[in-house]
Symmetry: C2
Subunit: 424 residues, 2 copies
C-alpha cells in the first residue's frame, strides 16, 4: 500500500533508506495507531495533522513509503509549507522505522495481560477525546480492569515525589475516602504523593489506575515494581508509550495531560513551587476539568505549588474527600454542591446558635448575680416586653436562668445550655 | 424643639416618662449623632430609617419628645406599620434617654485624646459610606493619628483569639511586611491573631488601627491595656460605641462590619470552623472588599475557617505580604496583579528551564558515557540535524557536554549546568 500515489504528476520524492513494501499489519488501523505511538513523540503536531488528514493507516503509508509530494496529501497538507514540515518530520520519524512491529509488541504485552486500546473500543476513555489534536493515537493497557469504565468516575491525585509526612498523610486520607465511595484514584505511580494515593486506595479495596510515562511492561521507578504489578493485577496500568519505551522528562510532561484528561477531576495534594504536578494542574485547567488543591502551611515550601494553583489557576480549596467529591459531582452534574453548615465541634458555646434579640438579651445577662428585667433591657437596648419574651425562650433553651424575684419580672442571669443538637 | 409638631391634626401621642424640653446640644448634628450612638444598638434598622428620613437632629427630637404621630414623619415613616415599628423602637430606646449627654462624654474622652468623628469631617473614612443604612451615626476616635487618611491604604488582618503558634507567626509576618510598605494594619485588639498583627506593625514602626466593640476609653481585653494605650498614643483606636460602653457579643459581630468597611482589603489569617473572623469575611464579601485567606494544614482545626472562606466566599489564597499587597492594589486599581514567575529556589535542576526540542534532546542524553548523535536522535525522536542544533545550544548553557569524537557529530552526554539566573 506504500505503492499508492506513485502515479502523481508532481514527481514522487523518495527518502533514501526506507524500504517498501510496507508490512501487512500496517493496513489495519489498530496496528497503524500502535505504530504511530512508537514513531512520533507525544505532542508531535505534524504526526497529529497527518493522521487527521489521511487517517492513521494512510498517514503511516506516507512514513513507510517516504513520499511527501504525492496526491494523497489533501487540502492544506499539500501546501509548500506543509510539505516542508512533513519532510522535516519524516526525517525525525525515520530513525524509528527500522524494526517497527506493533503486532509483536502487542503479543509480548499480552503475556503480561496487556493490550492496545484505540478510539471506538469499549475500553477507550471517552474523556480523552477532549484532548483534540493532542489525543494519543492509542493506549497501551495492562491489567484486569477495563480502563474506560474504571475512570468514568475518577479523581487524579497528584503531587510531589519529594513529599512531606503531611502530604502523604493527606494523600492517603483523600485516596481512601474517595476509593471507599467508589471513585477510582488515578495517579502517576511515582514516589511520594502518587504512591501514597495508590497504596491507600488499594488498602481500602478501592480502584486505582496508574498512568505511566514509559512502557507499561516497565517498572518506573524500579522500587515500585511490586506496587505497579499489583495495580496491573487488580486494576489497570496505562501508557501512551509502547512497551519498552523509556520514561523521559518530555514524556512525563506529556503523560500529565493524559492524567488530566482521563479523570473526572484533578487534585494537587502537595507540590513545591516548581513541580511536575503543576503541569498536570495547568493541563486540567486548559481542559476545564474541575481542579482542586490541598492547602498546607504557608511556611512549608512543599505546599507552595498548591497555593500557586489556588491563586493562579483559581483551583478550589479542598480539605477532605467529601469536598473532592463535590468537585466530581459538580463535573458530572449529578449533585449541585451546596455549602453545608456542618458542626465540627460537639461542644456548644454559651451564645452559639442565638441571633437577633435573643442574642442581644443573652449578651446582656450577667453571668453570676441575677439582674432585673429593666436593667437587662437597658443593657440590651431593647424594650422590657421584648426582653421578657426573649427571656421566655432563652429559659426554655437553657441560655437564661431565673434566680430570684423582684416586683417586675424576676432576676435573671446567664444559663449554661447543655450539649445539644448542632446549631442550625 | 421637642415641642415642634404639636399642632398636628392626627392627635399627638406622648409616651409617659419622657421629659421635654430637650437639652441644647440636641440641636447640633454632631451631638445628635453621638446621642444616637448610645441610644440605638448597631444594626437598629428603625433608628437608621428615622435618621435617614428626618436627619439625625429631628430624628432625635422624636425620641426626646416621644411623639410618633406628628406630621414630622414624612413618606413611608407615616404609614401605620411604620408608626407601630417606631412605637416599639421608642420603647426600646427609652431606657437609655435618661442621663444622655454626648457632650459630657466627648469632654471626658478629650482628656484621653479622643473625639467624635462624623460624616463630612476630614477624618471620616469615606469607605464607611459603602455600609449604606448600616453606617454608624458617628465614630468615637482616640489617638494621635487622623483615622481617615490612616486607613486610606490599609489591610484588616483578622483571626482567632485561640490562635496557634503558626497563625501568630504568619500574622506577624504579614503585618510587618505590610506596615513596612506603608500599609496600615487594621484589627480588633483581641487576643491571638489581632494582637500578633498589631504588635508586629508597631515593632517595625508601622501604622496600626484598633477597632473596638466597646468604648475607646475601655481596655478590652484588660490584659491589652498597655497595647491599646500604645496604639492610641501613636496611632488610632476607634469604635462606634460611646465611651464606657461594654463589649457584648452583638457589638463584636457588628464591630466586624466596621473593620471590613474601613479597610482596603480583609485577610483572614487563622480561624477555626466557627470564628468571629468569618463574620468579618462575610461582611467583606458582601461589601465587595478584596478578601484573602491564609491557608494552613488541613489537619489543623485552627485553619478550617480559612479554608472555608477560600471555598465558600471564593477568597484569594495569600501566603505572604506581597500577595496581600496585590489584593490592595487590585482594589485601588494602582497595579494590575500579574502572576509573577518567581524563582524560590536558588538551586537549579539539570533540565530546568528547558523546553521543546532542547528538553527532548537533553532528556535523551546519557548521564555517564557519551552517545553518538544518531542514537540521541533516535531516543529523542528528532532528526539528526535538529539534534545537532540543540546540542549546540545545550553545550553553551552547560546542559550537554561533548566527551569524545566519532565519524558524525561526536559523542555527547548530559552536562551539569551551574547555578545561574532564575529560569525564564
Amino acid at each position: 500500500m506504500s505503492a499508492r500515489g506513485g502515479d502523481g504528476g508532481a514527481g514522487q520524492q523518495r527518502l533514501p533508506g526506507v524500504s517498501p513494501p510496507a508490512p501487512a499489519w500496517a493496513g489495519e488501523e489498530r496496528w497503524a495507531r500502535a505504530a504511530w505511538s512508537r514513531l512520533a513523540e507525544p505532542g508531535d503536531a505534524v504526526a497529529a495533522a497527518l493522521r487527521e488528514a489521511l487517517g492513521p493507516v494512510a498517514a503511516l503509508d506516507v512514513v513507510l513509503g517516504g513520499a511527501v509530494d504525492g496526491p494523497q496529501l489533501p487540502g492544506e497538507a499539500g501546501t509548500p509549507r506543509a510539505r516542508a514540515a512533513l519532510r522535516a518530520a519524516l526525517e525525525r520519524w525515520r530513525p524509528r522505522v527500522e524494526g517497527l512491529d506493533p503486532r509483536r509488541d502487542a503479543d509480548a504485552l499480552a503475556r503480561l495481560g496487556g493490550r492496545v486500546v484505540v478510539p471506538g473500543d469499549e475500553e477507550w476513555p471517552r474523556r480523552l477525546d477532549d484532548l483534540g489534536d493532542a489525543c494519543p493515537p492509542c493506549l497501551w493497557v495492562r491489567g484486569a480492569g477495563a480502563l474506560g469504565p474504571l475512570v468514568e468516575r475518577s479523581v487524579a491525585l497528584v503531587g510531589s515525589r519529594a513529599s512531606s509526612a503531611y502530604g502523604e498523610h493527606v494523600a492517603a486520607e483523600l485516596a481512601a475516602g474517595l476509593a471507599e465511595r467508589g471513585v477510582a484514584v488515578v495517579s502517576g505511580g511515582a514516589f511520594g504523593i502518587d504512591a501514597a494515593a495508590h497504596r491507600a486506595a488499594l488498602a481500602v479495596g478501592g480502584v486505582t489506575v496508574a498512568v505511566l510515562a514509559c512502557g507499561v511492561d516497565r517498572a518506573y521507578p524500579v522500587a515500585h515494581e511490586a506496587l505497579l504489578s499489583r495495580i496491573a493485577a487488580e486494576h489497570v496500568v496505562v501508557a501512551e508509550q509502547p512497551p519498552g519505551a523509556a520514561p523521559t522528562r518530555w514524556r512525563f510532561l506529556e503523560r500529565n495531560r493524559l492524567i488530566a484528561a482521563a479523570s473526572s477531576a484533578v487534585v494537587v495534594v502537595e507540590a513545591a513551587w516548581r513541580s511536575g504536578a503543576l503541569s498536570t494542574a495547568t493541563r486540567a485547567a486548559a481542559l476545564l476539568r474541575p481542579l482542586g488543591a490541598v492547602p498546607g502551611p504557608v511556611t512549608s515550601s512543599t505546599s507552595a505549588g498548591c497555593h500557586r494553583v489556588l491563586r493562579e489557576l483559581q483551583a478550589t480549596c479542598v480539605t477532605d474527600a467529601s469536598e473532592v467529591l463535590e468537585l466530581v459531582d459538580a463535573a458530572s452534574g449529578s449533585v449541585v454542591p451546596v455549602p453545608v453548615e456542618r458542626a465540627r465541634s460537639g461542644r456548644r458555646r454559651p451564645l452559639e446558635g442565638l441571633e437577633g434579640d435573643d442574642l442581644r438579651v443573652a449578651d446582656a445577662l450577667p453571668v453570676r448575680r441575677g439582674a432585673p428585667v429593666a436593667s437587662v433591657a437597658r443593657a440590651a437596648g431593647l424594650a422590657e416586653r421584648t426582653v421578657l419574651a426573649c427571656l421566655g425562650r432563652l429559659s426554655l433553651s437553657g441560655h437564661a436562668e431565673e434566680v430570684g424575684a423582684d416586683e417586675r419580672g424576676g432576676l435573671w442571669r446567664r444559663g449554661a445550655p447543655g450539649p445539644s443538637a448542632p446549631a442550625r
